[in-house]
């Protein structure tokens, strides 16, 4: 089992790097959705020997929301806004990848030095979580399109979720579902806002949102 978990985590890390190097918005949406599915399946592997209804329900809800609902909501926003690519990111794709390498190194350095009291099942869990969060934050900062920023937010949320997975048994079901619901509504509201931004400005570049300042 451990080997499969490790493989999944490597895939999660690869999706992050792919997210940093991709300009097509639809592809970005698919990458984040794939990441969501990977993370949705992960708890099943963790609890492969003691599968309970709770774990399965949780995995199903998370996989469905992140793998089906979000991509559907966001690709609808892309279609309505009629944008395909992030053409002029604030930080270019090759440099983003290199920065991604640095972030990965940082995440590993920090992740391995955190004295975790519990025993995480693989040493890559925490670094992968930190890396995913950092990539999410970086995406929010380094891209112009509102949609890419939402994807960054989702990646960040995925990273935090990965961290939570290592200690999942401590979080009660109600809170888990509440978090999932919140993220869902957040994406929903952001999707509506993107629709309005597109209608108001004829594009979804957030650096044009700059009339409010002191």
């Amino acid at each position: 089992m451990n080997n499969w978990i490790e493989a999944l985590i490597v895939l999660v890390v690869l999706t992050n790097l792919r997210l940093l190097g991709t300009s097509r918005l639809i592809a970005c949406i698919r990458i984040v959705a794939f990441q969501g599915i990977l993370l949705g399946v992960l708890p099943l592997l963790f609890h492969a020997n003691d599968l309970t209804l709770r774990v399965m329900l949780q995995a199903a809800a998370s996989t469905f929301t992140k793998g089906v609902v979000f991509p559907w909501l966001l690709s609808r926003a892309v279609r309505e806004a009629d944008v395909r690519r992030e053409l002029e990111p604030i930080i270019g794709y090759t440099s983003s990848l290199l920065i991604g390498c640095v972030l990965l190194g940082t995440a590993l350095y920090v992740g391995w030095r955190l004295p975790l009291p519990g025993t995480a099942s693989t040493p890559f869990m925490v670094p992968a979580a930190l890396f995913t969060m950092m990539v999410g934050l970086f995406t929010i900062v380094a891209r112009r399109k509102a949609l890419t920023q939402v994807l960054g937010y989702l990646a960040m949320e995925n990273g935090i979720y990965t961290f939570g997975l290592a200690f999942a048994e401590k979080e009660p079901l109600l809170v888990e579902m509440g978090i999932l619901l919140d993220v869902f509504v957040a994406v929903f509201v952001m999707g509506i806002t993107i629709y309005h931004i597109n209608r108001e400005f004829d594009h979804i570049d957030t650096d044009q949102l700059s009339s409010l300042k002191d």
């Binding site: 490790e6 493989a7 790097l17 190097g21 990848l97 990965l104 890559f124």
Partner: protein, 302 residues
């Protein structure tokens, strides 16, 4: 003994691998294609001809092909093939391999610059840029392999591998390294999607443009050296993908040979199904390969 045989195989069969690639592409395009052994005839024909040297060139120009061929032949000594140890194996021979390939590139490039042609200068500049990006991918990948096997020699790191390693412990590492090596393989051998070996437009060439002014035996050396280089890098890749260790060295070599020709066929498929990347996108692909290698290295570090 068997190690020497494997070098003989490389020296004899390397041009055939190129023939396999061309035949695969021809089948995909619906043509009959050139004979499998076309490159051999080309080499013989070129060797029988005389060379023409421009008055502006110096000894560097004529030394380029020779040094290239010598370097790549030497590198064959340290590369293991299909579970068979290389003739030479010592800690750190992976650096020797990298530097021999670097030497080969260096001489190809300065021979190209020596002509003073602007096209060749452009090709040289691209070649250097891309291989500078491909080198970390190769070295980091080899470092990951070395760390995994606990050995600093190529033969050491390739000898302990089993086919089951790919799915069992450390599988992700090997797959990541293999993916990175595949990109390096395509980039260093000037294949699609990085470079198009069949292009006819100097502006878009990378590797081929550097050999434009060479003729006769010099050109034969360059072509032959290129075939051998593909064999060397291919051996690194199939060492991971087809790690047969049956205990019978001849059997292992046969398996690796089959692997090598399958790799050539696969390259043909890639070339037929993919389009060439825009030159601006090439660095991105190479950096991505380096990132894969780095990730693999990181995975074995803990």
């Amino acid at each position: 003994m068997i190690s020497i045989i494997h070098i003989l195989f490389a020296v004899l069969l390397a041009p055939l691998a190129l023939g396999v690639i061309n035949r695969t592409k021809a089948i995909f395009a619906g043509r009959r294609g050139q004979p499998l052994l076309q490159l051999y005839w080309d080499l013989f024909k070129l060797l029988r001809k005389g060379a023409v040297y421009s008055r502006t060139t110096t000894w560097v120009f004529s030394a380029g092909p020779l040094v290239s061929l010598a370097a790549v032949l030497t590198s064959l000594l340290v590369v293991p093939f299909g579970g068979v140890r290389a003739l030479l194996a010592f800690p750190g021979d992976l650096l020797l391999l990298a530097y021999l390939l670097g030497l080969m590139r260096f001489f190809t490039v300065i021979a190209a610059l020596d002509t003073g042609s602007s096209f060749e200068g452009m090709g040289a500049s691209r070649e250097v840029t891309f291989s500078a990006l491909a080198e970390p991918a190769l070295l980091l990948g080899l470092a990951a392999m070395g760390r995994r096997a606990g050995s600093l020699s190529l033969s050491g790191m390739y000898s302990g591998m089993m086919p089951s390693d790919l799915v069992h412990h450390g599988g992700p590492v090997l797959i990541l390294v293999a993916a990175a090596f595949l990109v390096v393989f395509l980039a260093e051998n000037a294949r699609i999607p990085i470079d198009d070996p069949d292009t006819h437009l100097e502006l878009t060439m990378i590797h081929e443009v550097m050999a434009l002014d060479h003729g006769g035996p010099d050109f034969a050396f360059i072509q032959y050296a290129a075939a051998l280089k593909m064999w060397v890098l291919g051996a690194l890749l199939i060492g991971i993908l087809v790690p047969m260790h049956t205990g019978l060295p001849p059997l292992d070599v046969v398996a690796a040979l089959i692997g090598m020709f399958l790799l050539a066929a696969a390259t043909g498929v890639i070339e037929s199904t993919m389009a060439r990347l825009r030159i601006l996108r090439v660095p991105q692909l190479l950096v991505a390969a380096s990132v894969l290698s780095m990730l693999a290295l990181v995975l074995v570090l803990d």
